[in-house]
Amino acid sequence: MSHYIFLLVGAVLVNNVVLVKILGLCPFMGVSKKLETAYGMGAATTFVLTLATGSSYIIDHFLLIPFGLEYLRTLSFIVTIAAIVQLTEMVIAKTSPTLQQTLGIYLPLITTNCAVLGVPLINIAYGYDFVESLLFGAGSAIGFSGVLILFAGIRERIEGADVPQHFRGSAIAMITAGLMALAFMGFAGLDKYQ
């Protein structure tokens, strides 16, 4: 049990997918201008990422490995993820136009969110089983969403700050992301504690 807890905490905090693994920066920078969109993006990514880890595990174990096609992993994962994202978008567009509104053009961006591809690949590299994969996927997604929302909160405040002209916008956002990563380094070693 504690193994799973450590895995989850590790995925959320210690090996945070954005701030430590530096994956998924594009939506992290792009969808963090407003808290509202960050909430939506976080929810959508969590959903897609968890689904993607599960389905890619299934594809890997029941399709690719039996046929000895491990070299097609990246390709097949991309296709699967793209399809899942498309599906999600259609479902959201139908069921919640407001959410679709706030996510705007960023929903298709999940397709190119490298975190969504990276996490399934990491799962396989670490040899996680199905439950571990799902946990790691969910943990990474929660970490991503949490950091995204916190980041949006800070950015909303920085919006009103007297930031020097040349550092306005993306520049100061990158610096902030850097300092956030610095703060997250504080968690280093926590998942190794015995």
């Binding site: 405040r157 919006e159 009103g160 007297d162």
Partner: protein, 579 residues
């Protein structure tokens, strides 16, 4: 009588500076050399002027008629001649002009026939109407027409009537002196309000730094045989804010989105009660008020001042020191520097403070906010001024509304305590007026859109109708033509075609040509009119000549206009008959 007082959060204790101006009784200010009475002196509609240049007016005569329910009449403050009706500088931070009635006093200060109002036989509506006609407005500074506040809410029983004699702003003592000297009239006025609102109890709140006023009011209440309770409230700015005083006396909190009557409370200023009673018992409309003259002056004191008196002339009574560099209307916390010293005293003018750098040292430059939270601790409405400031400065008005900017009463406590010297209230005023302007614009845009869409719909409909008509006509014509053609067919084929083509052209042409001709004729007429309206050789004329010409011109223009529509005059009647 002891009663349980409540507290409001926040508040500040600036030095009160009140004793300077309480040493002397209220004196009547002498008649000024001229008066400028602004028509718009209360919240709501701007009264319409009912006098013209050259009219002789008597003191108390109506000069501006209330426009709508939320509006109050304006009266001549003294007898004299109306010398102008037009724009004049206003005692307003904008420094803009607004319509005033300029009166030259004749020195006799002669009243109109004053009739006491028959309170006993009057219906409540009649009393309210009478107060509106007498120009009674809230004299605490908000100048809301009093009659508009004298209707209890339909669903909520009126529990408390709060009378505001707190006067929490530093320097101001006009209510203090009024209560000391004219308590009986105030209490009678409160009695009128009580009869209209039927509250369960009446509470008169007076800050505990005015023991004389409280004693006078208690004596007056006793003398009148009333059961009003005079309560001394702790001295803490802004205890005299209506919402704060209601909170202290009743424990009720009135949010921005609600009226106090919805909570069963109503609040009036003591001076309002006083003027209401003067109007009812003596038939005197509001033509004067008590004004405190203080600040950088040698003889601070309170004066009964006619509305419309120029401020600089008035201030001379208090002998301002030579380094006076401006006049603050209102108190030092919420007042403002008037745009020029000669602006008139209005009903909202409770105090004039001679401004000098010695009295109010210039502020250190504004520093960035360090979010220390001092403002949040001082805010009597428990807002987060630093957050409001942050978003107002970034012009993120949606966020300012999330942080309840419209609950801000602009009392200035936050600016008072701010270590960074940020004019916080100023930012909030800016944000509020931007939001109002935007809402107005949004409303206008929505209306424009509806009209645009309706117009499109109408045009579509008209087009459809026309097409239908044309189709019918065409069908008829085609039938006719077919018959003709059939007839012509006997004669030969070729001419029939020519006949068939020709009328098509003709149907378009004559209408168009007629229209064009009409327009051309009208243009010619307009040109002639314009030329006629601009006679030559008008450079060197005597005033008499100019006046004569203007008269002739007016006649001519009238005739011209009468001429032009004469032919069209049939149109409206025609449409009428059609309907």
């Amino acid at each position: 009588m002891l009663m349980n007082l409540f507290k409001f959060k926040g508040g500040v204790k600036p030095p009160t500076n009140k004793t300077q101006s309480t040493g002397r009784p209220i004196a009547a200010a002498p008649l000024p050399s001229h008066l400028a009475v602004p028509l718009h002196q209360s919240i709501g509609g701007t009264p319409r002027p009912v006098v013209a240049v050259g009219d002789k007016v008597l003191k108390g005569q109506l000069i501006g008629e209330a426009d709508g329910w939320i509006s109050a009449a304006v009266h001549a403050p003294t007898s004299g001649t109306v010398v102008a009706v037009g724009p004049g500088k206003q005692p307003h931070p904008s420094g803009l002009d607004a319509d005033c009635v300029f009166i030259e006093p004749d020195g006799r200060d002669e009243w109109i026939a004053r009739q006491p109002f028959d309170l006993v036989n009057a219906t409540p509506d009649a009393v309210r109407h009478y107060l509106q006609q007498s120009g009674v407005v809230g004299l605490g500074g908000a100048v809301f027409p009093t009659h508009g506040k004298l209707t209890p809410a339909k669903t909520v029983p009126m529990q408390e009537l709060v009378i505001n004699g707190a006067e929490c702003e530093p320097f101001i003592t006009c209510d203090d002196l009024l209560m000391r000297e004219r308590a009986i009239d105030i209490v009678r006025g409160i009695g009128v309000f009580r009869d209209l609102l039927q509250p369960q109890k009446v509470l008169i709140g007076i800050e505990d730094n005015k023991p004389e006023a409280a004693a006078a009011m208690r004596a007056a209440v006793e003398a009148c045989g009333e059961d009003f309770v005079v309560v001394q409230v702790p001295t803490l700015y802004p205890a005299g804010g209506a919402k704060q005083l209601i909170r202290v006396l009743t424990g009720k909190e009135v949010p921005a989105a609600k009226r106090s009557t919805d909570l069963g409370v109503q609040c009036f200023n003591v001076a309002t009660a006083y003027t209401a009673w003067r109007a009812i018992a003596h038939g005197e409309p509001v033509v004067s008020r008590i004004v405190t003259l203080t600040g950088n002056v040698r003889q601070p004191g309170n004066y009964e001042v006619l509305i419309g008196t120029p401020m600089d002339e008035l201030l001379q009574l208090a002998q301002p020191n030579p380094d006076t560099d401006g006049i603050v209307m209102g108190g030092p916390m919420m007042g403002f520097l008037v745009p020029e010293p000669a602006v008139p005293v209005i009903k909202a003018t409770n105090c004039l403070i001679a401004h000098s750098e010695r009295l109010f040292p210039p502020k250190a430059p504004e520093m960035p906010c360090i979010r220390c939270g001092a403002c949040a601790q001082a805010c009597p409405h428990e807002l987060q001024p630093f957050e409001l400031y942050w978003h107002a400065r970034a012009k993120d008005f949606g966020k300012t509304q999330q942080y309840h900017i419209f609950d801000c009463i602009e009392c200035g406590c936050c600016s008072f305590v701010c270590p960074s010297r940020i004019p916080l209230v100023q930012y909030f005023r800016f944000a509020k007026s931007e939001i109002w302007a935007r809402e107005k614009e949004k409303k206008a845009a929505d209306e424009a859109k509806t009209r645009f869409e309706f117009k499109q719909f109408r045009e579509e409909r008209e087009k459809a109708e026309k097409a239908e008509k044309l189709a019918k006509a065409a069908a008829a014509q085609a039938a006719k033509k077919a018959a003709e053609a059939a007839a012509a067919a006997a004669a030969g084929d070729a001419p029939a075609v020519a006949v068939a083509e020709k009328p098509a052209d003709l149907t378009v042409d004559p209408a168009e040509a007629a229209k064009k001709a009409a327009i051309a004729a009208a243009m010619a007429r307009a040109k002639a009119q314009r030329e006629a309206a601009q006679p030559k050789n008008t450079d060197a004329l005597t005033p008499e000549q100019a006046r004569d010409m203007a008269e002739i011109e007016a006649r001519r223009v009238q005739a011209g206009i009468a001429d032009a529509p004469a032919e069209a005059a049939a149109a409206p009647t025609a449409t009428k008959t059609e309907e």
